[in-house]
């Protein structure tokens, strides 16, 4: 799990593997797609368990409410599409059909964030965490890599009520192989590296970048704690408050708009419990654009350097 020895793996095949495992062992698992089964990772399930897979075509509103109807009979339904098509486009269906009656519909949103790349702003969902975490009864999970994606999907199947799981399109460093990351639990954050001078809180693909930033900071005698905040809602408040009290400053990093995303959620917890200098690394309040994922990450301020700079900034503000 050292940044120098990263292996890269995509998250969607991990989602697909988890679905296959669930399909084999549990009859109540049903999967829904909306004309993107081969892109999101539901295709293998549709081939192996055709009677338990429904393709709704490009009709996500109907997909979400239909999944609610299926779930109302006691089934556990995984509905999957690109994040752009299964959040804002179907917000009311998620709110009224799924969250209000607290049904077992698990929404797996792929191709989240700007790393979608060339498709551009119309396909780069950067405000889904804001939307989903505002919903009562919704649980929001952002796995850091492929292994954690697999665990999150399996955990969601056993978790009572609606779950939103956000994964990306690109290959991401496998960073959750350490001992501390073995027991994945929804609602539980993980300290992936200990440190005293600053805490770097990452979610999704930014967790690996936080670990890289910590290595970089160590070169400057800065000891950074790294937290993988894989559940955005409910927040593991205890681990965040503890980190704020012990390190005295916080940097958050997310591939999401800084408006009401993970960083904002953390800020709200800290302002009420342990007010410390803080910096949110994330996409500024703007739409994305076409480009190579790495170039976009650099242009929109989502690099290791951005996190390192943020750490120096909050340490300076904190003083010592």
């Amino acid at each position: 799990m050292k940044p120098t020895t990263w292996n890269y793996e995509p998250q969607r095949p991990a989602f697909s593997r988890a679905l296959m495992a669930l399909g084999n062992t549990r009859k109540e698992i049903v999967v829904a797609s909306a004309d993107l089964s081969s892109s999101v990772g539901t295709h293998a399930f549709s081939q192996e368990f055709p009677e338990r897979h429904y393709n709704f075509g490009i009709a996500e509103q109907n997909m979400i409410s239909t999944c609610a109807g299926i779930a109302s009979t006691g089934k556990v339904v995984f509905a999957s599409s690109f994040a752009i098509f299964c959040t804002g486009r179907v917000y009311d269906q998620i709110r009224q059909s799924v969250c209000y009656p607290k049904l077992n519909v698990k929404i797996v949103a792929t191709h989240a964030g700007i790393t979608v790349g060339g498709d551009g702003a119309t396909h780069q969902m950067i405000e889904d965490l804001a939307l989903m975490r505002a919903l009562p009864n919704m649980t929001v999970v952002v796995p850091a890599d492929a292994p954690e994606t697999e665990k999150a999907i399996l955990a969601a199947a056993d978790y009572e009520g609606p779950v939103y799981i956000r994964i990306g399109r690109a290959n991401v460093p496998v960073c959750t192989t350490g001992k501390d990351c073995q027991d994945f639990e929804i609602g539980k954050a993980t300290v992936m590296r200990d440190g005293d001078d600053v805490t770097l809180v990452g979610t999704g693909i930014m967790v690996a970048k936080c670990l890289e930033a910590a290595e970089e900071l160590a070169k400057h005698q800065v000891s950074a704690r790294v937290i993988n905040l894989s559940t955005i809602k409910p927040l593991d408040e205890r681990i965040l408050i503890k980190a704020a009290r012990e390190t005295g400053c916080i940097v958050t990093a997310e591939e999401h708009s800084v408006v009401m995303g993970m960083g904002a959620a953390v800020a709200l917890v800290l302002v009420e419990n342990a007010h410390v200098p803080m910096k949110r690394v994330g996409i500024p309040d703007s739409f994305g654009e076409s480009g190579e994922p790495d170039d976009l990450m650099a242009k929109y301020g989502l690099t290791v350097d951005n996190i390192v700079d943020g750490a120096h900034d909050v340490i300076k503000r904190r003083g010592r």
């Binding site: 409410s65 609610a68 009979t73 009224q96 209000y100």
Partner: protein, 279 residues
């Protein structure tokens, strides 16, 4: 079921419908808010379903093989609650709590709060999809139940209705029967002035549905239409039930104003009298 519905049976159901209508007026008058017009137009259809057609057990609301009813036009909740209470899902007394804080009887149906409510509805356009989901699950588990979904006619403006229409015929859910409460009025006015729906039957036919029409206030006719719908295999059925908004209360009939308006004390008394309440 008999091909022709006996006069006696229809007469009994009509009596129940009168009772349900009185509950509706009482609930909305007591609550000081609610939707009388669309509740009264839907009453006979819901009475036909709950008191004759549907296979259900009020003493066991979660019986897996029960027929399901989804009130997609959730604002007709008073009619649903009255039918559920009269069926025995909860005490008639509880109807007095409609729309009050802490009540199990929310302004729009809540499947988590009210025994017998199958779907949480109220945001127009989602109930047909929910019913489709229940129908698909029924097919998957080889359960014998039928899903009934009541749609408002104004609700046919919603795009999601047509997504669900397309999917339902594609998935060949012959265990799904939709009924449109075609009262020809929506909140802002007549449906043909707000957003034209016609030719409505042709639209549903084009989407692959078995389409029937019936007088939504003639219980014998409704029962026959539902019976016919149940015989059709390989496709979903829809019954366009021609109704009158506010049916049963003279001054509410066909009146746009009573979509979501509470009767005054005088109007309340008159309505109850017309609905056969003993003075």
């Amino acid at each position: 079921m008999d091909e022709t519905v006996s006069k006696e049976k229809a007469g009994k159901l009509e009596e129940t419908a009168m009772k349900v209508r009185r509950h509706i007026i009482q609930m909305i008058y007591d609550a000081g808010s609610g939707h009388p017009g669309g509740s009264l137009s839907a009453t006979d259809i819901m009475v036909a379903l709950y008191f004759d057609v549907m296979n259900h057990k009020p003493e066991d609301p979660k019986w897996p093989d029960r027929d399901r009813f989804v009130l997609s036009k959730g604002h007709a909740a008073p009619a649903l609650y009255a039918c559920l209470a009269e069926s025995g899902y909860f005490p008639l007394e509880e109807l007095k709590t409609f729309r009050l804080i802490g009540s199990r009887l929310q302004g729009h149906p809540d499947m988590r709060k009210t025994p017998g409510v199958e779907a949480s509805t109220g945001s127009e356009g989602q109930g047909l999809s929910m019913g489709l989901g229940m129908a698909l699950a029924g097919k998957l588990d080889r359960r014998p139940y039928t899903v009934y979904v009541m749609l408002g006619d104004g609700e046919n403006d919603c795009g999601q209705i047509w997504e669900a229409a397309m999917a339902s015929s594609f998935f060949k859910v012959d265990n799904l029967i939709a009924i449109i409460d075609r009262n020809k009025l929506q909140l802002d006015g007549p449906t043909n002035k707000i957003m034209s729906l016609e030719p409505l039957a042709d639209k549903w036919k084009a989407f692959g549905w078995n389409v029937l029409e019936a007088n939504g206030h003639n219980i014998a006719e409704l029962l026959e239409a539902i019976h016919k719908a149940k015989q059709v295999k390989g496709m979903p059925s829809i019954i366009i039930a021609h109704t009158i908004k506010g049916k049963g209360v003279s001054f509410m009939e066909g009146a746009v104003g009573f979509h979501g308006k509470v009767p005054s004390e005088e109007q309340y008394k008159k309505a109850m009298q017309e609905l056969g309440a003993s003075a």
